[in-house]
């Protein structure tokens, strides 16, 4: 259903000939310049580690690092040590703080921005290469620290609502609906070209189609790689290995120039995205501050606390780094699933009240109901609502609904009549709640009558999250259904007998 909403918006965007805002607010947090580090990678076809990297804050020229041939693991590791120091310092790793006096005592919010999803995946490859390395080489502790940070960033990036790792193309599609196929919307250059200064739909379409021709992924365009880079790499590799550094200075510089240009293009697109979102007149959703606060807490536990444990002098204290390969087994997968369900509902809980378009999306997802107040009775102790969407609401008696836009105004469902499309609810407040803005009225206020409301399912985020910990700790698989199938059913149970019968005996 939500997809249909996005289909409709895409058609509207096509009709208007430009991207249209998605939502009344920008639902992506853009940190301050000092909080943001932009990372862009280029890798050689077939390789999984970087060939070159651009890194920098949005307001400054990026620093570009590269190696002539990334198949030389030592050279790549040397490069990654330099990158590692910058990234670790950005995240406040105590060992890598440039100024001891300014070192963080607690984890403070930081962001990494990457141009596209392939750059995020490369972070994961970096984690695989270095997080558990037993390589005997200089600065291996930097590589290991970088690997662990990269893995934590990758793991956190999977959590709905996180604001620590931002994929620029996803940020734009969160904030806008574009008049092009979703398949094309992974290309950051394509998206930004639609937002350019061209006057007409046709000229914007031409610009977007042209922009797509330049790769912004971690790999280079194969034809470009073959014609512009391969001959240089061959020249670099022509002398014996031990002579390459001495004889290949010039060709190394040429390779660095070619790759640097590619990286600067990717970096500039990321910075443009940040600027676009900052300049957006809609402003940020107030609920994002909740998500940032939660994100700081989660990432602190995931990464910062482990760093402190690792640096601890106490031999009894050990760091617990997250696994590299994802969830190992049903128990872990079930735990993660429940955590993500809770996180995704938290996102909605935080953002939906500040954005009417998101409320519409929630209705389409079946997480709410649109209804009109038809009676206010018992001095505000009981309301009767008549709903018009959806026809059969997914609301249960005893459940709780929140009035969209006023998270503190909750209604407990007393009864539901699907035939008459009515619900009887009990308001949870009596006196006006002044934080509820225009809806700060007593429950008995007669002006509620006739008012159409969007009521959002009040999902118990904390309950789900704590339940995931409880189940993970007490059951075999962490997932009740798996336990059920494993459980042996006694053969003497008479299945025709109602198990509740005789319960009082």
């Amino acid at each position: 259903m939500t997809n249909e909403l996005r289909t409709i918006r895409r058609l509207r965007a096509w009709h208007e000939g430009r991207p249209i805002p998605r939502g009344e607010k920008v639902n992506v947090h853009v940190g301050d310049d000092d909080e943001i580090l932009c990372l862009s990678f280029v890798r050689m076809g077939g390789e999984s580690l970087p060939w070159a990297v651009a890194v920098g804050h949005p307001h400054e020229e990026p620093r570009v690092f590269g190696v002539p041939d990334p198949r030389d693991r030592d050279m790549v590791a040397d490069m990654m040590v330099e990158i590692g120091r910058i990234v670790l310092e950005h995240f406040g790793h105590p060992t890598f703080a440039s100024d001891v006096d300014e070192a963080m005592s607690v984890y403070e919010f930081r962001q990494i921005w990457v141009p596209g999803i392939s750059h995020l995946e490369l972070l994961h490859s970096v984690a695989f290469a270095y997080a558990r390395t037993t390589w005997q080489r200089a600065d291996v502790e930097v590589l290991r620290a970088l690997g662990n940070l990269a893995n934590c960033l990758f793991v956190d990036a999977q959590r709905p609502g996180q604001q620590t790792v931002v994929v620029a193309s996803s940020a734009l599609t969160t904030a806008f609906d574009f008049p092009s196929s979703p398949v094309r919307q992974a290309h950051l250059g394509h998206l930004l070209a639609w937002m350019g200064r061209e006057k007409t739909r046709d000229s914007r379409l031409r610009a977007a189609t042209e922009a797509e021709k330049s790769s912004v992924a971690t790999t280079l365009d194969p034809e470009f790689e073959r014609t512009a880079v391969q001959p240089l790499v061959e020249r670099w590799n022509a002398p014996p290995r031990e002579q390459r550094a001495a004889k290949g200075k010039r060709v190394a510089r040429e390779i660095a120039e070619v790759l640097g240009e590619q990286l600067r293009h990717r970096h500039s697109l990321t910075v443009k995205t940040i600027e676009k979102l900052r300049k957006d007149p809609r402003g940020a959703n107030a609920g994002l501050s909740d998500l940032v606060r939660i994100g700081v807490d989660k990432f602190s536990r995931l990464w910062w606390d482990q760093v402190l444990r690792e640096l601890s002098d106490d031999p009894e204290v050990r760091a617990y780094w997250p696994g590299l390969r994802g969830d190992n087994g049903a128990r872990q997968a079930a735990f993660s699933y429940q955590q993500r369900v809770a996180a995704s509902r938290q996102v909605m809980h935080s953002l939906v009240h500040g954005d009417r378009d998101l409320q519409e999306e929630e209705l389409m997802r079946g997480h709410g109901v649109r209804a009109k107040v038809v009676a206010v009775e018992g001095g505000g102790a009981r309301w009767t609502l008549m709903h018009d969407f959806p026809a059969v609401p997914d609301v249960k008696v005893g459940g709780s609904l929140t009035i969209a836009g006023a998270p503190k105004l909750q209604l407990k469902v007393l009864s539901v009549s699907v035939e008459e499309r009515t619900m009887i609810v009990i308001p949870s407040w009596s006196a006006a709640k002044y934080s509820s803005g225009p809806m700060a009225k007593r429950a008995s206020d007669p002006t509620w009558r006739g008012r159409q409301l969007i009521l959002i399912e009040d999902f118990p985020v904390f309950f789900t999250e704590s339940m995931s910990y409880r189940i993970n700790a007490t059951t075999e698989s962490g997932f009740d259904i798996l336990d059920y199938f494993r459980r042996e059913i006694s053969s003497d149970i008479d299945l025709d007998v109602d198990p509740d019968e005789g319960a009082d005996e």
């Binding site: 289909t7 999984s48 994961h124 990758f154 034809e223 390969r325 389409m364």
Partner: protein, 372 residues
């Protein structure tokens, strides 16, 4: 069209590529003609527009793939056998290695026909009494892996016949009975549960095709009851950041094999009235083949972007024709037969002419009502 004599050698190597190309977008007539006649879309795209960009793969990726595979089979398949043994793929302690690669791929066999003969001999020997024809093992004693086992699918399954090369075919003895399973070697990194889903799906589809082909060949050779074909395959991938192999076992191929079976049937049915002509191994062929592909109707879809070099021209045509698929497959469905041009007019205030147009406007104006 009636069958005509085959003017060029039947394609021997790219059966899988042709089949997978067709499966990606069976609804496109040009794609069907291209796959059946083995005419590469890239060549057609450049005939249509000489400036069409070349897609293709990274030269470095291709070189690495070759290097990785060569490393696996070097020294009697030492690396490959070790990686498979770690995953307990063999019952015995001394798995063996057979190399059925042809000489142009660095192997000991002369050509494809030689590789097919060796593979068929191998399968017969696995099943039969006595020792292997080439004298290398006795019945019931072989456990190990075969590199580049080559199958010729019976005539009529894909025009006019087809050949498949299986990267790795493992044999495990289960109570003395040989159980064979197919494996695919890929250069990309195994990142556990985060390994690219589309890459894995692609590799599993390939293996499903091999299972189906192997089942047909075993049936044709009368060996189906003697050699057990496993419906679980394995993938040989790389460890991230290194050239060391890692093996993923237990890849369920039941549905992929069934997909291949149905796909072959559908492809055969779709291609029944076409000529038997096929292009050569490079996807080139007589001018008439190109003309056939160019004349066939096209149907732009999201999938085209991932595999077809004519996608840019088809996309431009779709935009010009007001084909909703230009904005995504979902838009095409949503428009319910309306063109983008007409949708544009309706959104701009034009009066609807029929129920479809009225319904379109109703859904556009009030998405919630449309959904309810």
């Amino acid at each position: 069209m009636n069958s005509v004599p085959v003017p060029l050698p039947a394609n021997r190597r790219d059966t899988r590529r042709r089949f997978e190309q067709w499966v990606k977008h069976p609804g496109c007539g040009a794609n069907l003609v291209s796959a059946v006649h083995n005419v590469k879309m890239g060549a057609v795209a450049r005939r249509e527009n000489p400036a069409a960009p070349k897609e293709g793969q990274s030269v470095f990726a291709l070189a690495r793939g070759r290097r990785f595979e060569a490393g696996l089979v070097a020294n009697g398949g030492e690396k490959l056998l070790r990686a498979m043994a770690v995953r307990q793929m063999f019952a015995g302690p001394d798995p063996r290695f057979l190399d059925f690669r042809i000489s142009i791929n660095g192997g000991p066999l002369t050509d494809i026909d030689d590789a097919i003969d060796h593979t068929e001999d191998f399968l017969r020997t696995l099943a039969a009494e006595g020792s292997f024809a080439k004298g290398s093992f006795a019945k019931g004693s072989f456990e190990g892996v075969v590199s580049s086992a080559t199958l010729r699918i019976p005539k009529g399954v894909m025009l006019p016949e087809a050949t498949l090369i299986i990267d790795a075919l493992s044999v495990r003895l289960d109570g003395g009975r040989p159980v064979v399973s197919v494996g695919e070697i890929k250069t990309y990194a195994d990142r556990g549960g985060h390994t690219s889903k589309s890459d894995l799906a692609h590799a599993r589809a390939q293996m499903g095709l091999y299972v189906h082909a192997l089942a047909m060949v075993l049936e044709q050779l009368g060996l189906a009851d003697l050699v057990e074909l496993s419906l679980e395959g394995f993938l040989v991938l790389t460890n991230p950041g290194s050239n060391n192999p890692t093996v993923r076992v237990g890849e369920d191929l039941r549905y992929q094999a069934e997909r291949a079976r149905k796909g072959f049937e559908l492809m055969e049915a779709a291609a029944r009235d076409m000529s038997d002509m096929v292009g050569d191994d490079e996807g080139e062929g007589p001018k008439s083949l190109f003309d056939m592909v160019l004349a066939a109707p096209t149907s732009f879809a999201d999938a085209c972007l991932s595999f077809c070099e004519r996608a840019p021209s088809c996309y431009a045509k779709a935009i010009a024709d007001g084909d909703g698929a230009a904005l995504g497959d979902d838009i095409d469905r949503f428009l319910n037969g309306l063109s983008l041009h007409r949708a544009d007019e309706l959104m701009g205030g034009a009066r609807p002419r029929n129920d479809i147009e009225r319904d379109f406007l109703r859904r556009m104006r009030n998405p919630l009502d449309g959904a309810s």
